[in-house]
C-alpha cells in the first residue's frame, strides 16, 4: 500500500507535542502527510477508547504524544496517560491489532526536529505492518 494512502491519527497535547509539531512545520521540515493531527488539552485526555475507535473506523495507525513525564502542563496528566496507554498497547495483540500500529511518546515544544523524525519512523513502521496485515477495519456486515 502506498504511503500516501495511509491514514494515521495523532492525538497531540496542546502544550508540548502540538507546539513541537508546529515547530517542525515552521522550520519546513519534511514529514509524511499521512498523519492527521487531533489536538487535545492533555495526553491524560486520551481515553484508550479514542484509540480503539480510530482503529474501528479504519485508521491504519494511531500516535499519541504528550509532554515529557514531569513536564505536564497540568502536573500529572501524562502519568495517568502512561498507565492507560501502556495497558492498551499490551492489549492490542489480544484484539489482533499489531502493536506496531500504535505508539505513545513524549515530545516537547522545542523538539521540532525530533518530531519530524518520529513521524517519519512511525509512518515507516505502520507501512511495514500494513503490508503484513492489511484490511484492519472491522467490517460492518454480518459474516
Amino acid at each position: 500500500m502506498p504511503r500516501e494512502t495511509l491514514k494515521i491519527v495523532g492525538f497531540l497535547c496542546n502544550w508540548c507535542s502540538y507546539a513541537g509539531a508546529d515547530m517542525a512545520g515552521m522550520a519546513r521540515m519534511r514529514q509524511p502527510d499521512s498523519l492527521r493531527i487531533i489536538r487535545v488539552p492533555c495526553s491524560g485526555r486520551v481515553d484508550p477508547l479514542l484509540v480503539l475507535k480510530a482503529f474501528q473506523e479504519g485508521a491504519d495507525g494511531v500516535l499519541v504524544s504528550g509532554c515529557h513525564p514531569g513536564d505536564c502542563h497540568y502536573g500529572n496528566g501524562n502519568y495517568f496517560a502512561r498507565r492507560r496507554l501502556e495497558l492498551l498497547k499490551r492489549m492490542l495483540p489480544v484484539l489482533g491489532i499489531d502493536p506496531g500500529r500504535f505508539h505513545y511518546t513524549w515530545v516537547s515544544a522545542s523538539e521540532g526536529a525530533r518530531w519530524a523524525r518520529l513521524v517519519e519512523e512511525f509512518t515507516g513502521q505502520v507501512e511495514r505492518v500494513q503490508e503484513a496485515q492489511p484490511n484492519l477495519k472491522i467490517q460492518s456486515r454480518i459474516p
Binding site: P48, L49, L52, K53, Q56, P69, G70, N76, Y79, F80, R82, R83, R84, E86, L87, R90, M91, P93, V94, L95, G96, I97, D98, Y104, T105, W106, Q133, L136, K137, I138, Q139, S140, R141, I142, P143
Partner: protein, 308 residues
C-alpha cells in the same frame, strides 16, 4: 437447624435483608434469593452449585443495610466496590464462606441432562447414577483458585477445606485455539464473535462492577461511541467499551460470560487484561477495601516500560 442458617439468622440483628441462595425445587441447584426475615432464611443453602456472584445486587441496594453471603471471589468484588466508594462498607455485613470450587451447572447439565439433583462428594460429581470427575465440570475460574479465603469478611459461616481447590487448567478448547492464533486470525476471531452479539447488555447487567446503569457508555447516544445496530463493527466497539472500563476492576467472576445468551467468550479478553494489569501494576482487582486501584493513581517511577 444447621450452623450456616444459624449464622445468617444472627446477622438479621444488624441488617434489613440478606442475599443468599435457596435450592430450586425444579432444577435441584442453588438459585439466588433475598431473605427479608429470619424465618425465610430457614431455606438458605450453600453448596457447590452456588456459582452466582450476588454482589451485582449490592450497588442497587444502597440505603439499605445488607447482609451478603460471599465466596472468596465474590468478596473481591465487594472489596473493589468499597475501594471505589461505590458501596458503603458500613452498610454491608459480609458473611464469608469457604468455597469448595463451584460446579458450572450448564456444563453439568450437558453431561447429565437437565433438571436432576446434582450431588458432589469425594471429588466426583454425580447425578442419578452417572458420575464425572469434579475438575471436568468445575467453573473455569475455580481452577487454580487463589481466593479461597474471603479478602473482606465480617462473619464466617463455614464451608469447605482448602484442600478441595483444583489445580489450574491447561488451556483447552477455545483458549487453546485462541493462544495459537496469528494477529490476523485474532482480529477475524473477534469480528466473528462480536458479529453474534445481540446487544442485550446481559453482560453489563450481570457484572457486579458495572454500576453506571443509566449512564452506560455502551448505550449512550452522546457521546456516541457505538450505535445500537446489530453489526460486528458497532458491537466490537461497544464490547471494548465494557472491557476497557473493566481495566483493573474485573475480579474475574465470569458472570458476564455466563450471562451471555450467544456464548461470546468475553473472559478471554478480561483474563488477558487482568494478566496485563497484574504484570504492570502487581494488582488484582479487589485486593482490599483500602487499596487504591492502579488506574486511579500513578507512580512517577512507572517508566520501566521503555516508552520513548
Amino acid at each position: 437447624m444447621n450452623e450456616f442458617v444459624q449464622t445468617i439468622k444472627q446477622t438479621f440483628k444488624e441488617v434489613d435483608l440478606v442475599l443468599g441462595w435457596v435450592r430450586s425445587p425444579a432444577a435441584g441447584v442453588a438459585v439466588p434469593a433475598c431473605f427479608h426475615t429470619p424465618a425465610q432464611a430457614d431455606d438458605a443453602v450453600f453448596d457447590s452449585t452456588c456459582m452466582h456472584n450476588l454482589v451485582v445486587h449490592l450497588p442497587r441496594l444502597a440505603g439499605k443495610k445488607v447482609g451478603i453471603v460471599a465466596k472468596g471471589c465474590d468478596a473481591r468484588s465487594i472489596a473493589q466496590l468499597v475501594a471505589e466508594h461505590a458501596v458503603d462498607r458500613s452498610r454491608v455485613i459480609v458473611i464469608g464462606v469457604h468455597c469448595p470450587g463451584m460446579i458450572d451447572v450448564k456444563k453439568a447439565w450437558r453431561c447429565f441432562g437437565f433438571g436432576k439433583r446434582i450431588s458432589d462428594a469425594g471429588g466426583r460429581v454425580a447425578m442419578e447414577g452417572k458420575t464425572v470427575a469434579r475438575e471436568e465440570v468445575l467453573l473455569q475460574k475455580c481452577r487454580g483458585c487463589r481466593d479461597w479465603e474471603p479478602v473482606i469478611c465480617d462473619v464466617t459461616a463455614g464451608g469447605a477445606t482448602k484442600a478441595a481447590t483444583a489445580p489450574p487448567a491447561e488451556p483447552a478448547g477455545i483458549r487453546k485455539r485462541f493462544a495459537a492464533m496469528s494477529p490476523a486470525e485474532r482480529r477475524q476471531f473477534w469480528q466473528d464473535q462480536f458479529s453474534r452479539c445481540i446487544r442485550c447488555y446481559a453482560c453489563r447487567e450481570a457484572c457486579p462492577l458495572c454500576f453506571c446503569r443509566d449512564q452506560c457508555a455502551m448505550q449512550a447516544r452522546d457521546p456516541g461511541w457505538a450505535t445500537a445496530a446489530i453489526d460486528a463493527s458497532q458491537s466490537w466497539m461497544a464490547q471494548l467499551i465494557r472491557i476497557s472500563h473493566m481495566a483493573g476492576r474485573c475480579s474475574g467472576c465470569e458472570e458476564c460470560e455466563r450471562a451471555c445468551p450467544v456464548g461470546i467468550p468475553l473472559m478471554l479478553l478480561l483474563e488477558e487484561q487482568n494478566a496485563v494489569i497484574e504484570e504492570l501494576f502487581g494488582y488484582r482487582a479487589g485486593a482490599g477495601p483500602e487499596v487504591k486501584p492502579p488506574l486511579l493513581t500513578f507512580n512517577i517511577k512507572d517508566d520501566a516500560w521503555g516508552e520513548s
